[in-house]
Symmetry: C2
């Protein structure tokens, strides 16, 4: 029981959750897929973004009735990385992302990043966010199965030394929220990846916020009782309940 009333730990997705990079990734996949002979509508790619590479390609092929055996997955990923790097100069941190991570660090709330992306492209986003080298980051390269399998979030919780039942998973895609359910974490959705609110709620979101800034303003709804905060989240008398 203790784990459910303790203050939470946070496991963050990266693209669309902390960094405004989803649309660039979508168009980069569009370009890579066309290079390998797959014509796919952009919205279908958007709706699959955040899945593991293998499941992603599988799901896309299912939609066009294609044959997976003819797809060179390594080449596809290399083409995507190349196209994405051409667009990355347009990518920015999402509003409030740095402030949210800073606030959690100040409050000593454990947190980590768990992304379906590879370290190669994730590194660009991490630099942009200016995250501390001590922040645990789990990338696709480090687990067997990516989202909607729960492995990335389970590995991140383990790295923090926190039981997964105490964790809040924050993500912008339904794959984050499905993975959160499978891991038995609490899922929180952000609209900043371009999904609709209802899609995220139907995928099991406990709450849906607009972006990291909106989440920062509502940390109390996750059981974080801020002691050091200034601004709209200050609850001067509420600090005593913290661990």
């Amino acid at each position: 029981m203790a784990s459910h009333s303790s203050p939470p730990a946070f496991l963050f997705d990266l693209d669309g959750t902390l960094v405004d990079s989803v649309y660039q990734h979508v168009l980069a996949w569009r370009e890579a897929l066309e290079h390998t002979g797959m014509e796919l509508s952009v919205w279908r790619i958007h709706r699959r973004i955040g899945m593991s590479g293998g499941l992603f390609v599988n799901a896309l092929l299912r939609e066009v009735g294609g044959d997976l055996s003819t797809v060179d997955s390594e080449r596809l990923q290399a083409l995507h990385a190349e196209a994405y790097k051409r667009l990355v100069s347009q990518v920015r941190p999402l509003p409030g992302a740095r402030e949210l991570l800073n606030a959690l660090a100040e409050e000593e709330v454990p947190h980590a990043i768990a992304t379906s992306g590879r370290l190669d492209t994730a590194r660009l986003s991490l630099e942009m966010l200016g995250v501390s080298a001590e922040l645990p980051v789990i990338t696709r390269d480090q687990v067997r199965y990516a989202k909607p399998d729960p492995d990335l979030f389970l590995a991140a919780a383990e790295r923090l030394g926190v039981p997964i039942e105490r964790c809040v998973v924050v993500g912008d895609s339904i794959w984050d929220l499905l993975a959160a359910q499978r891991a038995r974490a609490l899922g929180v959705g952000l609209l900043s990846g371009g999904y609709g609110q209802e899609e995220l709620e139907r995928a099991g979101a406990y709450r849906v916020y607009q972006d990291p800034r909106d989440l920062l303003d509502h940390l109390d709804q996750m059981g974080v009782r801020r002691q050091r905060a200034t601004g709209p989240c200050t609850y001067p008398g509420a600090g005593a309940g913290t661990e």
Copy 2:
């Protein structure tokens, strides 16, 4: 009463409805806005796409708390057009778009295009679709107010000589569906612009389909009784009701 049982006419939005261009437009707006000093998350731009230029900028400024008087709307639109032209080589017709327009022409179902875009950029999409020069096209330049005002669709219906109550408005954004309601047309949503199904339903969609191909396969749900079709929509005995 006759107008409600007569076969419908179709008024189509263009970007995201017939042409897979929404994400490129979104990133082009992102770039143009940043050039004029407005930092906006990409998903917020996506959610406003399809509005009239003026309302669009107003709505975005409301979200960032900016001042409209400092924005040079003409310059913004020129920057957008320039950025979009760099991305347009990536744009493709949506699956089934050409087949849908051809099927309507064959069945002599009146139809037109009504877009919030300017003729300048719309022309590129119309060429890509290979539409007949006789197809009526209403662009932003021709009406006073764009979506969600009903003017574009009212002008298109008038051009067809069909009462608006007999028209089906097909669009990918909630602004199309709101404009359809205001015009008293029947609104049909397509997921191909990247909005969620529930968003489109909540904006008043009578039905939501995946893309033009999916709509083509369900034209009977709009009261089109196809006589010349082959494939899943053939209803050999159903032709007698067509005007």
